[in-house]
C-alpha cells in the first residue's frame, strides 16, 4: 500500500485536466451567476447596475415564481413517489425467474437510453388531444375525450407520468441489483417460520433494499428538479396557464427567451440553495432509517 507518487508535481499534473474542466464549466459560471444575481443586466452591453437583493426580493414576491415553485414541488413529489413505487414493483416482477426474464430486463432499460426530446415527443403523440392513441382509445371505451394539453391538472399528470417512465429503467437496474443482494437463506428461513410473501417482502427484502431506495430517492429528486427541461419543452412549454412550468423551465424563459440575466441568475442561485437544502434534509431525516447491512 506504500505505492507513492515520485515527486509532488505528478499527482497535481494528473488531476489538472479534471480540475480545469470543473473550473471552466462549473466553478467560473457558478461564481458569475452569483455575481449577476445582484445586478440588473442590460442584455446587449452586459453592463449591469448593482441592485443588491432586489432580484431575490422580486422573485419571492412574484406570483409567477411562487406558482412555478408549487408546480415544481408537486411535480417532484409525483415523479419520486410514482417512480420509486412503480420501479420497485416492476423490479420485483423482473427478478422472478420467469421464462425469458433476460429479455424483459434488457427491454426495461430502454426508456433511460432515450433522449428527453424523443421521450417527450412519444408521450405528446400518445396524448395528442385529437389523434393520440390514448385519447382515441379512451373516447372509444368511455365516450370522454379530455383535452390533455388544455387542462392544467391533466397536463401535469401526463408530464409526471412521462418523466417517471423516462427514469424507470435507471431505477429498475438499481433495484434489481439490490434485490439480487438479498440473501436467499434469510427469505427461506422466514418462509419456514411461516411468513407470507408480503411479510417477507416488507420485513426482509425492503429493509435490505433501503440503501438503494435512499440513493434512488435522492437521484430522482435531483432528476425532477433539474433534468426534465427537455421533456417539458417538447410536451407543454410550461403550459397551459403555467400548469407545468417548473422552476428550470421558468429560468430558461427568463434567461434565454427574455434575456433577463440578473433575475435568471438569482433563480439559479435560489434553485441551487433549495435543492442543496432538500438533499441535506433527506440525508438527515431519511438517511437515519437506512440500514446499511
Amino acid at each position: 500500500m506504500e505505492g507513492r507518487f515520485p515527486g509532488r508535481i505528478l499527482p497535481y499534473a494528473l488531476l489538472f485536466p479534471s480540475i480545469a474542466v470543473i473550473a471552466v464549466f462549473l466553478l467560473v459560471p457558478a461564481v458569475e451567476a452569483l455575481r449577476l444575481s445582484f445586478f440588473e443586466v442590460s442584455p446587449f452591453t452586459g453592463r449591469g447596475t448593482f441592485v443588491g437583493l432586489a432580484n431575490f426580493r422580486e422573485l419571492v414576491r412574484s406570483d409567477i415564481y411562487r406558482g412555478s415553485l408549487s408546480v415544481t414541488l408537486l411535480f417532484a413529489v409525483g415523479v419520486v413517489a410514482l417512480g420509486l413505487a412503480g420501479s420497485l414493483a416492476v423490479a420485483v416482477l423482473a427478478s422472478l425467474r420467469l421464462p425469458g426474464f433476460g429479455v424483459y430486463r434488457t427491454v426495461l432499460l430502454w426508456p433511460y437510453a432515450l433522449s428527453p426530446a424523443v421521450a417527450g415527443t412519444i408521450w405528446a403523440l400518445l396524448f395528442d388531444p385529437s389523434t393520440g392513441p390514448v385519447t382515441v382509445l379512451l373516447r372509444a371505451v368511455t365516450g370522454l375525450s379530455p383535452n390533455w394539453m388544455m387542462n392544467g391538472t391533466y397536463a401535469l399528470a401526463v408530464t409526471v407520468v412521462a418523466a417517471t417512465w423516462k427514469m424507470l429503467g435507471f431505477n429498475i437496474v438499481f433495484f434489481l441489483a439490490g434485490l439480487q443482494a438479498v440473501p436467499q437463506e434469510l427469505r427461506e428461513a422466514a418462509q419456514v417460520d411461516g411468513a407470507g410473501a408480503v411479510r417477507v417482502f416488507w420485513r426482509i427484502t425492503f429493509p435490505i433494499l433501503s440503501p438503494v431506495t435512499f440513493f434512488l430517492f435522492v437521484m430522482n429528486s435531483l432528476y425532477a428538479f433539474f433534468e426534465v427541461f427537455g421533456l417539458i419543452d417538447v410536451m407543454t412549454q410550461g403550459g397551459p396557464g403555467g400548469a407545468t412550468e417548473i422552476l428550470v423551465y421558468r429560468l430558461y424563459q427568463d434567461a434565454f427567451i427574455a434575456a433577463r440575466w440578473g433575475i435568471a441568475s438569482a433563480q439559479s442561485i435560489l434553485l441551487f440553495v433549495m435543492v442543496g437544502a432538500l438533499t441535506l434534509l433527506q440525508f438527515r431525516l431519511a438517511g437515519r432509517r437506512v440500514v446499511y447491512a
Partner: protein, 460 residues
Amino acid sequence: MEAFSRRWTALAVAVGVLLIGMPAQAKTEIHFWHAMTGQLGTSLEAQAKQFNESQGEYEVKPLRKGNYAQTLTAAIAAYRQKNPPHIVQVFEVGTQTMLMSGAVYPVYDLMKHYEIPVKWNDFIKPVVGYYTKDGKLYSMPYNSSTPIFYYNKDAFKKAGLAPDKPPKTWKDVEAYAKKILAAGAAKCGFSTGWPSWTMVENMHATHDQPFASKNNGFGGVEGVELLVNRAFGQKHIGQLAAWQKDNVYSYGGRGGAADPKFVNGDCAMYVQSSALIGGFTRGVKFDWGTGELPHWGAPYRKATSIIGGATLWVLKGKPEAEYRGVARFLEFLAKPEQQMWWHVNTGYLAISNTAVRNLEQGYHFVRNPKQYTAFAQLTGLPPTPPAAMAGKKAAPAKAERVATANSSGLRLGNFVQIRDVIESEMENIFAGKKSAKQGLDDAVAKSNALLKDFAATYKQ
C-alpha cells in the same frame, strides 16, 4: 506512373480550389441571421441569391439561428462577443428591446449615410409606424402580416349560410356558429391562433381601445402599464370563455397549435395570421374564404388592425466599409418588384404602396381576393379589391376603418414575457379556473411588474 498522375491530380485539385475560392474572397460577406423555416426560408434564400447575382461586390450569407427568440438571443451573445451578424431578423415583440439596446445602426441613418434614396412615405403606415421612433425608421420591415378571419365555405353551405358572406360582427359569429353546430357541419364554431396577438392586442386595436398606457408604450418606457383588464377586455375575453362552454369557441393553444382544428374541418371559422393563406391554399381540402376581423359594433369605433411579423435590424460593431453592402441589400429588398415577389411567394404583406398598386394593376388581387383582406384591414379600405382598370383611375374608395393612436402598434419592453403572461391567464380563464376579470387583473399585475423591471434595466 500511377504516383505521378496522382500527384498531378492533386495539384489540379489544389489549383481548382484556389480558383473557385478567389472570387468569393474578393466579395465582402454580409451575415444575415434569420428565423424562417420551410417555404419561407427557401424564399428568403432565393432573395439573397438574387441580390448576390445582381452585383459583384457583396455576398449576403443567410443563416438560420433557430426560432425568433433563439435568433435574438444568439445575436445578443454575438454582439457581446464583438462578432455580431450585420443583419438580424427580430420579431415585432422584440422591438422595444432592440430600440433600447444601443446596439443598433438605425436603417434610416444607414440609408442616409450612403445616400441611398428610399421613399419611406411610400410604405404602408401601420407597418412603418410600428418600427419608427422620433420620426426615424429603425429597422427594415421584412415579413409583416396581420390577423384575418378564415372560414370554411363548405360548412357554411351545409348550415344554409351564404358562402360569400363572412360574419362582420361577433354577434354574427355567434349566430353562424350556432347554425353550423346545429347543422352538424362542424364540431366547433371558431378557434384562434396566437391568442394574445389576435384576441387581445388586435381586438383592442380594431376597437380603438388602448392596450397599454403612455400611448401603447410609444410615449416612453417609464411608468407604462397594461390596460387590458378594462371593460372592453373583460367583455371580449369573458365572451370567449362563455362561448367556450357551448363550442361556439374552442381554444386551441398558442402560436399555430390550433391550425389543425381549421384545416381538418373541426372548427368552421378561424382567426389567424394572413401569412397562412399560402399554407392553407396548399393544405386545406375544402373551399374556404377570408374576411376581416369581426367587430363588436357601437359604441366602439372600427379601427385598423396592427401587424405582426419581423423586421431586419442592422447591428453596430462591423467594419465601416461593410455597411455599404448592408445598405445596398436593404435597398434591394425595398424595391417594389422584390416586395411583390416576396408577397406572392410567402403571403406576407407587400409593404410599399407602389408594390400594392402594381399587384392590383396586375389583377393579382382580382385573382387572389383572399390576399387583399389584410391590405384592406390595415389601410381601412373596403374589403373588396377595386378591379384594376387600365388607364382609368377608379374613384378613391371610402375608408371603412379609422387609423388611431390605439391601432398604430405596441411598444413594450419584455413583450415576449408579457405575451406569455397574457396567454397563461387566458388559458386559466378558458379552463374556468378564473373569471375574466380575475384573470385579466392578474395578467395586468404580472405584466406591470415586467414593464417596471424593463424600465429599471434601461434607466441607468
